[in-house]
Symmetry: C2
C-alpha cells in the first residue's frame, strides 16, 4: 500500500507516540529539567530503533546528548541527513496556558479546523522532527526507502546548540551526506505551502546595570543617586532611533540590501496585514521605517528585549531604589552580519553609553549566523516537487525571521545545503503559551517528507 | 532615680523586648503575612498595657488595626499624641541579608561602634516607636510623666495608611492633643543631632504595557510587532530630559522655589559627598541639574522606577517577544504638589505618550502629601531643648527625602503640628537588606523622648 494509506492506517498511533514525547518536559534552558532532557533523548533513540534505524546511539557531549541513527541501503544512492531537536523552550508563564504545557490535548482552532495538538514543543520541534521518524518508519515498512538516511537529533537547539559544532567537526565522515533536511520552520498555510529559503541569525546578550551597592529607600536617596532601572530604560530606549533604526555604531555595515525586484517578489507572497493585526489584537504594527512587515521579518535585523527585571516586583508597593537592574536583549541578524562581531559591537556600545553613576556588565549568551538557501539545487527542487505532489501546488519560497544557526555550520563544515521543509504555521504560538501543531500538518508532513526522499533520488541522479 | 539611670538599669530588657517585636514578620504589603501583622498589633497592645497606659484597644479597620492607648494625669495639662507604625517593608531580596531579616542580631558597624540591631523594621519603625513605649514606662515608673499622652500605632504605614484617614476623621475628640510626636525619620548623626522639618510627599503608580495578545517568538515576529518592554523603556526614559528634569506637563507648576538664603542654610548642614559616594560605592551621584545632593533630596521632586518586569527572567536564554511589561513608578513630591493631582498628570501623560501599537494601563497605588514643620512652635522648641539636654548641642533642622503622609492628615483634621524626632541614621538601610538600628540611638532616643515631655510642658505654659 502507499505511504499515504500507511499514514492513514497508523494515524492514531503516530499521534499517540508524539503525545508520549510531548509529556517529557525537556526544557534545555533550565537545569531543573535536566533529567527530563535526557529522558527525551532516550525516547528518540528507542523510536529510531523501532522504526528500523541501524547503529542508533546517544552521542554524549558536555551538555545534552545528540541522538544519531542511520540506514544505508546502498552506498551508491544519495544520503539525506535529517536534523531536528528534542529540547523545548521554557513553558513559563505557565498561568497563561489554557491546558498544562506538558499534558498534550487536541483542540480545534480557526486555522486548524481538523484539530491541533496543544503542548510545549508540539511544533518546535518535537512534532516536526518526529514526522521524519514516522516517514522513515513508513518507507521502511513499505520497503520503499529510496535513499540512505542519517538522523542527528540534538537537545540544545533552544540554548544555542553549543555542543553541536564540536560534534559535527569531529564526525565529518560519519555525517557524510548529500543534503540536510530540517523541519523546524513554518509554511504560509496548507493552502499556500511554502519552503523557507532564508533565516535570520541571532546574537543574545544579558546586561546588568548596578547603581548603589544595596537597595535604598527611594525617599531618602531618590533623586540624588542613579536608579539602575531608570538608567537601563534610558540605555535600552537609546538603542533605537525615531525611525526604529538600531543605533549601535557599525550594526548595519554588512547588512545585505536587496533589489526592488527581490523586495517586490517578497511582498507578492500572500500576506494579510489586517488579519495579522487582528490575530495579535494590535491596533498597529511597529518596526523599522521604510520596510513592510514581510521585509521587517524577512530581510532586516532587529533588537528586542526578551526579558527585563529589577527592584520590587511583588504584591503592593515597595518604595525601593534598587541596586541592580537586568535585561536579556537579542538581535536577529541578516546575511553577512557576523553574530560574534555584532555581539562585540553591542557590548562596546552598551558600555560606552553608560553614565559614570552606574556599573555595567554585558554577558553574551549565544548566537548563530543567518542563512540563505538557493532555490536552484536538487534539494530545493525535490522539496518543491514533493509539495506539488502532496498539496497540488508549487511551493512558495519565503524568508523567515527565526534562526537555525546550524544551517551555516552544515554549510561550512559539511558543505551541505539545508532544506527547510517546515509544516507549522506562524500562528502556532511557538515559544509562547498554548503552542500547538495541526494534526493535518503533522500527517501531511510525514507524507511530504517521504515524497521528498523519492524526488531527491531523482534530482540527484 | 533619673530617667537616664532607669534606662541604663533596664537596658537589656528594653533591647530584649524589641527583639521579640522584631521577630514578628509584620509585612503589610504581602497578604501572606497577614496573621503576623495582627500578632504585632497584639504585641503593641500588651506592651502599652504593661507600661501603664489606660483604655488600650485594637481599633479595627478594613485593613490592619490601629492600636490606641492613653494616660491622662490631668486634663489641664498639655497632651502629646504619639504616632508610629508596627508594620514593616517586605524583606526581599532575602538572599542579600547577612542574617535572617526576622531573627534580630547585634553587630557593630563603622557608624555604630557600640553595636546595632539588624532586622527588618529595627529602624523603620518598630525600634523607633517602641522608644516611646519605653520612655512612657520609665516616666510612669519614676512618677514623672509631665503631660498627658495618647498612643496611636498603626499597621499600614508601608502601604499608604489607607485606613488611618477614616479613623482620624471619626475620632477627633478621642485624639484631641496639643502636638503629634513621631519617631520615623533619621538624624544626621549622634554628633550632629537633627530634627526633620520637611518631608516629601509620594505618588505611587503601577503601569502595564500590552503589545501582542500573547508571548511571541522573537524571531518570527521580532522587528514587526511592538515589543512592550522596549516600548515601556522608551516611555520611562522619556519621563526625564537630558538635565534630569521630569517631563510630565504641569509636574513642576506648584513646586515651591526656595530663596538662595534658604538653600545656603540647607547646604550648610554637615554633609560629606565623598563619604556618601564611598558608602554607596558609586563613582558619581546622579540627579536634577542645578541642585546639590542635599537639595535634590530635600526640596526637589523625583520620579523613580521601584520595580520593572516583563518577558523571560529565568535561567538562560528564551527568544520571546513578550505580550506584557510592567513597572512600579513612584514620585516624591515637595510642598504645594498635590499627590492626587500629580497621579492624574502622570496617568494622562503616560497614556498620551503610548504608541498606537500598544495598550497602556495605569493603576495608582497610594500617595501622600508633603509636609513642612515650622521651627517656631512649642513642639519644635521642646524637641530642640530635649536634644540639647541629651546631646549637649542644638538640633539642626533638616529636610528629609522620605514621606510621612499622615503629617498633613494631622494638620488638616486635628490642627496639630507633627514633631519628627527621629534617631536613625540615613545609612541604617531602611527598606533594604540588612536594615539596622543603633543600640545607642535606641537608648538615647528613649531618654530624649522623656526630656521632650518635660520641655513640652514648659513650652506650652
Amino acid at each position: 500500500m502507499s505511504i499515504k494509506s500507511y499514514v492513514q492506517s497508523h494515524r492514531d498511533r503516530f499521534i499517540g507516540e508524539l503525545f508520549e514525547l510531548l509529556r517529557i518536559p525537556s526544557v534545555s534552558a533550565d537545569p531543573k529539567f535536566s533529567k527530563d532532557v535526557f529522558a527525551a533523548a532516550d525516547f528518540v533513540k528507542k523510536s529510531l530503533e523501532k522504526a528500523g534505524a541501524d547503529s542508533v546511539e546517544l552521542c554524549l557531549t558536555d551538555g545534552y546528548p545528540i541522538v544519531y541513527g542511520e540506514k544505508t541501503i546502498d552506498p551508491a544512492l544519495p544520503t539525506v541527513l535529517v536534523y531536528g531537536h528534542y529540547d523545548v523552550q521554557p513553558a513559563d508563564p505557565y498561568e497563561l496556558w489554557d491546558s498544562p504545557p506538558f499534558e498534550p490535548v487536541v483542540k480545534t482552532t480557526a486555522r486548524h479546523p481538523e484539530g491541533a495538538i496543544f503542548a510545549r514543543g508540539s511544533a518546535d520541534d518535537k512534532g516536526q522532527f518526529y514526522m521524519h521518524v514516522k516517514a522513515f518508519e513508513a518507507m521502511m515498512a513499505e520497503g520503499s526507502l529510496p535513499c540512505n538516511v542519517k538522523f542527528m537529533i540534538e537537545g540544545e537547539e533552544e540554548v544555542g546548540s553549543s555542543n553541536l559544532d564540536g560534534f559535527v567537526k569531529a564526525n565529518k565522515e560519519k555525517l557524510k551526506a548529500d543534503v540536510v533536511l530540517v523541519s523546524d520552520t513554518h509554511m504560509i498555510s496548507l493552502e499556500h505551502p511554502s519552503v523557507t529559503v532564508g533565516l535570520r541569525g541571532l546574537a543574545y546578550m544579558q546586561v546588568e546595570v548596578t547603581g548603589p551597592n544595596r537597595d535604598l529607600h527611594s525617599g531618602t536617596y531618590g533623586g540624588a543617586v542613579a536608579n539602575p532601572v531608570n538608567i537601563l530604560c534610558k540605555m535600552i530606549a537609546s538603542l533605537h532611533d525615531e525611525n526604529n533604526h538600531i543605533t549601535i555604531p557599525g550594526f548595519y555595515d554588512k547588512v545585505e540590501e536587496y533589489s526592488q525586484a527581490y523586495r517586490k517578489a517578497l511582498n507578492d507572497a500572500p500576506f494579510d496585514l489586517d488579519a495579522y493585526k487582528k490575530e495579535l489584537d494590535i491596533a498597529d504594527v511597529h518596526g523599522e521605517k521604510g520596510y513592510t512587515t514581510v521585509e521587517r521579518i524577512g530581510i532586516r535585523p532587529t533588537l528586542d528585549v526578551n526579558g527585563i527585571w529589577g527592584g520590587y516586583t511583588g504584591e503592593g508597593a515597595k518604595t525601593v531604589l534598587p541596586s541592580k537592574a537586568f535585561a536579556k536583549i537579542s538581535m536577529r541578524l541578516v546575511p553577512n552580519q557576523d553574530y560574534q562581531e555584532i555581539a562585540t559591537l553591542f557590548e562596546n556600545h552598551f558600555k560606552a553609553i553608560a553614565p559614570a553613576s552606574v556599573k555595567v556588565k554585558v554577558i553574551p549568551h549565544h548566537g548563530g549566523a543567518p542563512a540563505v538557501v538557493s532555490t536552484d539545487t536538487p534539494g530545493y527542487r525535490a522539496a518543491d516537487l514533493a509539495i506539488q505532489e502532496a498539496f497540488g501546488k508549487k511551493a512558495i519560497p519565503t524568508r523567515e525571521g527565526g534562526s537555525i544557526p546550524i544551517c551555516a555550520l552544515f554549510q561550512n563544515e559539511l558543505g551541505l545545503d539545508s532544506i527547510l521543509l517546515g509544516f507549522g504555521l506562524d500562528t502556532d504560538a511557538l515559544h509562547s503559551p498554548n503552542e500547538h501543531y495541526g494534526i493535518k500538518n503533522y500527517l501531511m508532513g510525514i507524507e511530504t517528507i517521504a515524497l521528498f526522499f523519492k524526488h531527491f533520488k531523482e534530482q540527484v541522479k
